[in-house]
Symmetry: C2
Subunit: 326 residues, 2 copies
């Protein structure tokens, strides 16, 4: 990628910042200008050895490399934003990241020590993704958004007046573990029963499909020997398969109910739905909005449901946004 | 009430503000110093004639009367905070107050015109009560609280970092209309089915009691010919009446589930439970916290459940707090 490091004023270096999204296997990094144009993006491997003690070192080294290559002095760097897969308090302390082997960790302090960049912001990855979508994705133009990410699990992030809602222990926006079915017998990964994640994640959709297939003799393309996936359920529903349509309806009922609960609490302008499952497109927002409308009071009806637009890059966008937000 | 209008510095007038809580039958008013000491409180009747057009006039006249009596110039008045029984947007526009006969109403503008006081803040009454309890009541010492008011209806107010969470259309914190029972056949006042208000308001508790009494032959003191009330159900439960205990358990299950939903969204420090029903005391918080714990994820467990302390005065305290908050 060629990078234009000059601004319109004639060759003067423009202000830059970095967005980092730490995942369990790879770390995504991006270099942005303060208008949110991405200048370069890259990935490094997440070194989880020795309780993840090399992770922040690797990130700092990688960023220092870019700063040196493009001749960016620490004081010309607006900041470094970092999203981590665990709860983070408002002051940027990570409480725990099981995936990375971390306990309590002062991420900002350690990255500042190594890079000398002053403005380091840290937040939970799902919250950061929501901020990214607000800035440059499916929530652009809004300041009050609820984002829900439907992937292996179900994550959530809430933006109020343009800022992440963190919560007292960094656990705000944990939409995936709202209980939506008190009758559920299977246990969720969090050890509760009937969490949204058990119905609206990719795995949850397959679980619903197996349940419905087991409960009926009805013919369905989902009975093919090929391995069942959430994508296949959506594809078959689009082709009119009645069992697949019932599965999607059930998915929509649980997700619509949970988002209704969220709306009763924070009253957002728009919902943004992301993650692998959302690639199925409008069928997702249609299934959800139907049950959302049934479960919210009058003042909260007719909210917008948008699909996320930044995919895996929402995290680096949102992280970068944290360090330039007012 | 005798009022000391001098401060320690020797006779100089201290700074004062007013808190107003507009209800459907009476308007409560309070005069406070900026430390939250109440100097005087009084009530006037809510004149609902002609679509409530005299209400703001009456409030302004009443406040001007006090200002004149105590010789407070408009510029010595820190401000006037007003709680209204309807949704209010962040800029203080009232969207609708069915109880008062109001449509869209620029409350701040009208009160400013009449009183010449510059700093006028307006918010929803349930939100304002939450702010009052945070300042001087059951949430004192905390900055992130969720208040739920269990009275004729069920109201809610959420405080984040010391400020009211308003929501995009002023409908944040509408906890009473979270759907907690998708199987409910009776209709809620809001026209949905299974809202928290149908189980956790005073009327809701009586409704549960009738249902349980009708479903069993079990003897119970609740079967006495005397009219059933929420208070009686709590009193009998405290005396060991098994049916009454089941009613309170059911009340706790629905309220605990709803507050678990709220916690998954905003992760507060403390819950404050107020309203007439909360006068039953610790039996209320015990019933709720049991089911709360069952329905939240690990990071949100062991939250504090406090009883409200300001009763009917929470509104005037919270309204006053709005005009002196940073």
């Amino acid at each position: 990628m060629r990078i234009n490091m000059t601004d319109g004023a004639g060759g003067k270096m423009e202000k830059l910042c970095f967005g980092v999204d730490i995942g369990g296997t790879t770390i995504k990094l991006g270099m942005f200008n303060i208008d949110g144009e991405i200048k370069e993006k890259w990935e490094i491997t997440t070194r989880k050895a020795d309780n993840g003690k090399y992770i922040l070192e690797d990130i700092s080294t990688s960023i220092l490399g870019k700063m040196s290559r493009y001749d960016i002095a620490p004081e010309k760097c607006v900041g470094i934003g970092i999203g981590v897969p665990g709860p983070v308090t408002k002051d940027g302390t990570v409480l725990k990241c099981v995936n990375l082997g971390w306990g309590v960790m002062s991420v900002a302090e350690k990255v500042h020590e190594r890079t000398k960049v002053k403005n380091i912001k840290v937040a939970n990855d799902a919250n950061v993704a929501a901020l990214g979508e607000m800035w440059k994705g499916g929530g652009a133009g809004y300041k009050n958004i609820v984002m829900v990410t439907l992937g292996t699990g179900v994550g959530g992030g809430i933006i109020i007046d343009g800022h992440i809602l963190t919560g007292y222990n960094g656990a705000a926006g944990e939409i995936g573990h709202i209980v939506v079915n008190s009758e559920e017998e299977d246990e969720c990964g969090c050890s509760k029963h009937g969490c949204l994640e058990q119905y609206a994640s990719a795995k949850g959709i397959v679980r619903i499909a197996h349940r419905i297939l087991d409960s009926t003799e009805e013919p369905s393309m989902l009975r093919e020997p090929k391995r069942l996936s959430a994508k296949k359920v959506f594809d078959m529903a689009k082709e009119g398969d009645k069992v697949a349509i019932r599965v999607i309806d059930s998915f929509g009922r649980y997700l619509g109910l949970a988002l209704a609960h969220v709306a009763q609490v924070v009253d957002p302008e728009v919902f943004v739905i992301g993650g692998g499952v959302s690639r199925a497109g409008q069928i997702v927002t249609d299934a959800v909005s139907k049950y959302y409308e049934e479960n919210v009071m009058f003042a909260l009806k007719n909210k917008q449901f948008n699909l996320a637009e930044l995919g895996n890059e929402a995290g680096i966008y949102g992280s970068a946004r944290m360090v330039i937000e007012k």
